[in-house]
Symmetry: C4
Subunit: 375 residues, 4 copies
């Protein structure tokens, strides 16, 4: 069956139990090995920041305007030099192969179908080039353009290795680089299953940190802190690529301003889905201050807790230009592969458009802080 | 048995388990088919606004005055040119036939018995004219006047169809029009049971919105947004009727002010019982700002979460002139038909009068924001 | 056995499961008929104010001072012309006979033993004179003076009947009158068991309010509002007695100031244990504003939610001169009669003294708002 | 096996279920007699302050800085004249013998292994001298210096007895005295098991307070208040020792300032783990005001609720120079003796270093209030 036929069939057969992103989350648990499920869902330590990300959205109520003519409205946004059909991107998520054999190839075909930008993780379980090829095949089938494909970059052990990742992304025609700077110290104990690995990087470069009770140095002075990215690395990285460069993991307005001086093209306000430093403030809570500090200088993306179209409205009202979704991709991929991911993107767009129309906003840019009341 | 005998018998036989509106809600579940129950109770999506409506009342504590002579007090209010015995109206609720075979005919007889204004839904399952006749029969039996009967209006697919609804209401001597503008995009999946339908409108005009994964346009640009009501429609509607015109679904003070310019006679602060745009601020929370914006220019009704006489006190203290109850009608109707609805109206009045007397307020107009403390 | 021997024996045999007031509450449920238990415990309607009373104490944390010499400290207070050994009184509670055959006679002997003032309810199940005699017998046995015994007064159907209650109290040498003005409209459905009744008032004067669905007047215009106490009644009452006159049920600062003009000697900040108007603000929450309005002009008592010595500290820190306990009397009386009541009074004093000593306060008057932090 | 071998073996065999301090708490319950478990875990009365201590940390979110070079960072702090490898000390906890036969001897060996200061309780179940010897044996084995060992001092019944405790501590080369002033009135009902006792003090000096129902004096005027420590005792104590003198149990800024005038060298902000005066404000909540009152004059330690490295960051951000952990020692000691204690100290340091590195702070002194957002 062709993609469009599959999509059409899917539309006719989506079970009634899958009507929103949470339904996929509930269902996905039965499709994933328990240790992998734990890996996907867990935040660090006590999940304080995971919970905070969600709860932050509940702090705000929507206050619609009525009787406005929104018929000619739409949700497309201009993000730097690219047009997004919807202000939603697929956040970089490592190892899609953990939940579906087609891995990122399925995800990217869904991204093409729904015209959704995808940020491909350095820790992708498919090669960048293969992801590009799958996207182009899908685009040809559906007669739609390939949406923006970006590289999410983790700095590698050496500059040479980092350059290689950048070059591979360039070869795969990725159109922007999103440099993640908040997860250098993340600990994970998941043993990757057979056949799933970070195929785009040199496996030898992956370092596992351990410490002994009697070690004099634990974190400081270790390989870890030696290789942690710094502002100097940003200056270097800025020189390595002509592509738009995004900084992911900003939560302090001073850092946001500093990043502008280094020539950053966009900011991602994120606490890495609560997976890194537990206790970090919710993304949504630090967003307004960062927006206030940077104004219209660069676009801002937000991730962390987006599960519904109305969450997107709140994020945009507080200063984001668009949002990214992380874990929901994995839930949908686990349940129904490419179709699942396409479906949740459709749901989010539908929810967003309904919310906008009901808010009396014909365009994304009409969403502002006046649309919210603080509860 | 005559109505008054039935009512008298009812008074003597109300089970001890039915002493407040919540008792009816608990009991009603056993009287209603589960999909219908779900339809009545559910809000949209995650029920955030349903919960918010209720919780908003808990934000305020009552602070009574003591030792005031309230003997000659009362709870009647003047709403435009009509006198309400109690500042409570039956909110427009679609399809009373879902829960009781006598449908709106039972409800309106309760309204007559308790002298409570009733706002008849465009989606009523009985013809407007039949509702009027039932009201008059009840009035004659009980030797009481027919209380205000109003039309709740949804704009129809064409102006001609809307005019027809207005004309039918006029023929049924409805004395005001309450135009609902916040529920154009509401999705509902309930399949109406045999014998229940929107008999007052052209069934062909009812439109079911669906979207396909690959549709280029979902909400914006669809039939939906094309037919959504606008300020122009308000201007048109204002010309179609000499009856008092209410606007239902206001939650922003700027919209309230704009509505005054269009000649609106009254405002209904409502988030449609949390059934439309989930995440909308609680009705009670947006009320004070709307009152501040409009002052004494027009009366304000509030619905959303009223379950007790003290809730009414809080709504009035924050700026409402009267309140409407929605779901409780359906609970009472399901449990005991006309008697149930009459009983909850009696309970609410009793609770309201007791609360007022205990607050030291002899008249509704003595309730003001000083009567509350914010918790 | 003599009282002192009984008390001594009790001290040696108090079960380990009875170490605080909550222990008595838990235990009491097994000693009381379920409808009576419900009557004692319940607030009105949804118990919002019952819960609020308790939760209000949790809003404040204690902030002790250290290293102060408190050895010569004590907890006695001067309330008008009487000395209280501890700033705790037994609040007026109706029908002690509901939970123990010795009823108020047991309670008053505990009051004597612990030198605790007792406010005897108009709805006492023992005659005022018998309560006085029991107190004197206990005082003689224990070689302790009779503590203050006061009358709690509900206005009766006629001034003559009210005068009779006052006269009976005077005959029983009660030394103050606490006029309750917040419970005229209280509804109760408890059928008093055989042998328990309001022996101090004319049973015929007791009025049971009912209303019919078709009544034109429910509360306003009824016997209820006709007989509800007013400021004029206060003026009259002030002339009827030379005893100190307290006003119970004040929650608005303007009423507090007004009461002073009428010659009131003391104020009781109370929401009647959440038993009357559900949704009333917590006693503790309205206390500071009332204290601010009245200053040192008259003493203030607070009841509502006191269950521990630290609660007393918080109430005093926010403006009360002393507190009263209500339901705990009934719990203790149900479990162990006179001994139970004596024990909880001992526990509260012990907890209060420990709290004070740990707060670095040698005297009750050293407790002020600086001792608290708002959480 | 030597200590280092044991430690090495331990590192290789720590079960996966013991990865953070909470894991030890959960596990410990199975290793401890239930009455002892209750004694360790319980706060006073209703555990309000126990819960408040923990919840206080949840009031703050972390806001990291990014891209800072922290490689040469470290967590050592200078506390008066001593260097602490990590800003964590073992708080004084009575009777380690309750949970492990090696008691404080095991704890101190863990302290040596992890180079963690230990504050030895007056109510230690091992003699001070034996604790010193165990520390030195461990130090020799591990070729590490003995970390700071301090005396926690409770004032004894007589000055002579207090002097004896001080002298014993001096003989054991303890290097500071931490005088606890907030627990004079603590009640405990634990019957110490055979073989566990306060071997460092005169058993006869231990006083058990009881009171009888008919006592005229309960707390005030009793042995308790007579012997409670006062500012005069502080003046006396200051003269008895040339060692640095810390005051433990401060929660009011005025007391903190007063203590400086008496020549105190350091302050411990503590509510005694919620074990003494229930309802006391959380340690973390009173810390900022105390820091504001004392500035850089003396170092401040905080205990109460520290269970994770990020808790330490929050305490330091709000004004503490270092923290102490109490109950977690007992949990770890119960589960795995010396190894358990060493392991939790390792975990806390690891968590702290990771948190710091992720916060972009290379040094403890870079942590300040800007690192937090209030939730």
């Amino acid at each position: 069956m062709s993609h469009s036929h599959i999509l059409q069939a899917a539309l006719n057969h989506i079970p009634i139990t899958l009507q929103c992103l949470r339904d996929y989350e509930i269902t996905a648990q039965d499709f994933v090995r328990s240790d992998i499920w734990q890996y996907i869902q867990q935040g660090s330590d006590q999940n304080i920041s995971v919970a905070a990300n969600r709860r932050a959205f509940d702090d705000y109520g929507l206050r619609p305007r009525i009787l406005r003519d929104v018929h000619h409205g739409g949700v497309a946004v201009q993000i730097l030099n690219e047009t997004w059909q919807v202000p939603i991107a697929l956040a970089p998520v490592a190892y899609h192969g953990l939940v579906h054999p087609e891995a990122e190839l399925a995800t990217v075909r869904a991204a093409v179908a729904m015209q959704t930008p995808m940020v491909v993780s350095t820790l992708s379980s498919c090669r960048f080039q293969d992801i590009r090829l799958a996207a182009e095949a899908g685009a040809q089938e559906l007669k739609r353009p390939v949406p923006p494909l970006w590289l999410q970059l983790y700095s590698q052990a050496s500059q040479q290795q980092t350059q290689q990742v950048l070059q591979d992304a360039l070869d795969a025609q990725f159109s922007a680089v999103m440099w993640t700077v908040d997860a250098h110290y993340k600990r994970s104990s998941l043993a990757l299953p057979e056949g799933v690995s970070a195929v785009n990087i040199d496996a030898d470069a992956q370092y596992k940190h351990t410490s002994h009770l009697l070690d004099e140095q634990l974190v400081f002075g270790s390989w870890f802190t030696e290789h942690a990215p710094t502002w100097d690395d940003l200056a270097w990285l800025r020189e390595q690529t002509h592509l738009p460069l995004w900084l992911k993991g900003v939560s302090h307005p001073e850092d946001a301003k500093m990043a502008l001086e280094y020539g950053i093209d966009g900011l991602v306000v994120s606490n890495h889905g609560g997976r890194v430093l537990d206790g970090m403030a919710a993304s949504l809570h630090v967003l307004p201050e960062i927006k206030a500090a940077t104004g219209a200088a660069v676009p801002i993306l937000l991730d962390g807790g987006i599960r519904h179209g109305t969450d997107i409205v709140k994020a945009l009202a507080l200063g984001a230009d668009a949002v990214m979704i992380g874990r929901p991709q994995m839930h949908a991929l686990a349940v129904a592969g490419m179709l699942g991911v396409a479906h949740i993107l459709h749901l989010l767009r539908m929810e967003l458009e309904l919310a906008l129309a009901q808010m009396g906003c014909a365009q994304i840019k009409e969403i502002h802080s006046e649309c919210l009341v603080r509860w």
